[in-house]
């Protein structure tokens, strides 16, 4: 059950990441890593397009205690009809920056990147921020998630997360078939992926 409007879910993390097949392994790494840390990933998957979408994205950010903004895809997107940079991630980061500045006790954002010092060039307004560098690797994402979110008890290890990642990866075809999804970047597949990750994380603590 989603919380009432205006309330912040204390363990929810808004994921601002690219939704494309080339990012699939890191997308899964974020979900598995966050779930292992006892957090709840949220995404804009399933939000309708058109008018109102922006408001819904903003309220999703406002409802999450944390947000993660992966700026590793700052290159040009050559998918026809136009070759353009992708502005969605920096734009949503801007929304989160504003929300955090206005409500520092309610929101904390993290910027993730694949390459060190690139954000300083691509988005120099954020020079006060040290992005977390995952190097475009699954283990890198998990390592940086563990650096960002620290639990005093039950802090998972990267090998535990990696094991869960492997097990969930084996079930991807089934998850997609059950959801009737063409891609993992669909709302139902996302929900199932989150839950599968939780089940696998739970199994790690059982065996």
């Amino acid at each position: 059950m989603r919380p009432k409007a205006g309330s912040v879910t204390p363990n929810a993390v808004f994921l601002n990441i690219p939704y494309d097949e080339g990012f699939r392994s890191l997308y899964l790494a974020y979900i598995v890593g966050l779930v292992h840390l006892g957090l709840e990933p949220r995404a804009t998957l399933g939000l309708p397009g058109g008018t109102g979408r922006l408001g819904k994205i903003l309220s999703e950010i406002q409802g999450c205690r944390y947000s993660i903004h992966d700026l590793s895809r700052v290159g040009l997107d050559r998918t026809p009809p136009f070759t353009t940079p992708r502005f969605n991630m920096p734009f949503e980061l801007g929304l989160a920056v504003a929300w955090e500045k206005l409500n520092p006790a309610k929101h904390t954002k993290f910027v993730f990147e694949a390459k060190a010092y690139r954000v300083q060039k691509s988005l120099s307004d954020l020079n006060e921020i040290d992005p977390l560098i995952h190097g475009g690797q699954v283990a890198g994402v998990m390592r940086e998630l563990c650096n960002a979110f620290v639990r005093q008890r039950n802090q998972p290890t990267v090998p535990e997360m990696t094991e869960t990642y492997k097990n969930v990866s084996r079930r991807l075809a089934k998850i997609m078939a059950d959801a009737g999804a063409k891609s993992l970047f669909e709302a139902r597949a996302f929900r199932d992926l989150c839950y599968e990750s939780k089940v696998e994380a739970k199994l790690r603590s059982l065996v």
Binding site: E40, V111, L203
Partner: protein
């Protein structure tokens, strides 16, 4: 900007998590694995993940595996190893 935060919120249970991500109870059940465990009495309990009570207790492992498959045809049940073999020890679940 914080580069690290201390998370103090409790880790949600499986059911709380499922509810929070918007999964129906039926969908949660279909994604949860079913376990077959040997009881000290020598019979076999069929149990869902995170449940206190067994869904069923059957005299043989074979019957328990069949029952586990009935309970969740969507997912391969996990079976408690009752023998040490070269493929795994007793502390590892096996698939039938």
């Amino acid at each position: 900007m914080a580069n690290s935060v201390k998370v103090t919120t409790p880790i949600p249970s499986l059911e709380e998590f499922g509810r929070s991500v918007g999964l129906s109870k039926a969908r949660q059940r279909s994604l949860n694995p079913v376990f077959v465990e040997r009881r000290p009495q020598g019979d076999y309990a069929v149990r869902r993940l995170d449940s206190e009570r067994a869904s069923d207790v059957l005299p043989t492992q074979r019957e328990a595996i069949e029952r586990a498959r009935e309970l969740n045809p969507n997912r391969t049940p996990l079976i408690e190893r009752v023998r040490d073999t070269t493929r795994g020890s007793r502390d590892k679940w096996r698939k039938p």
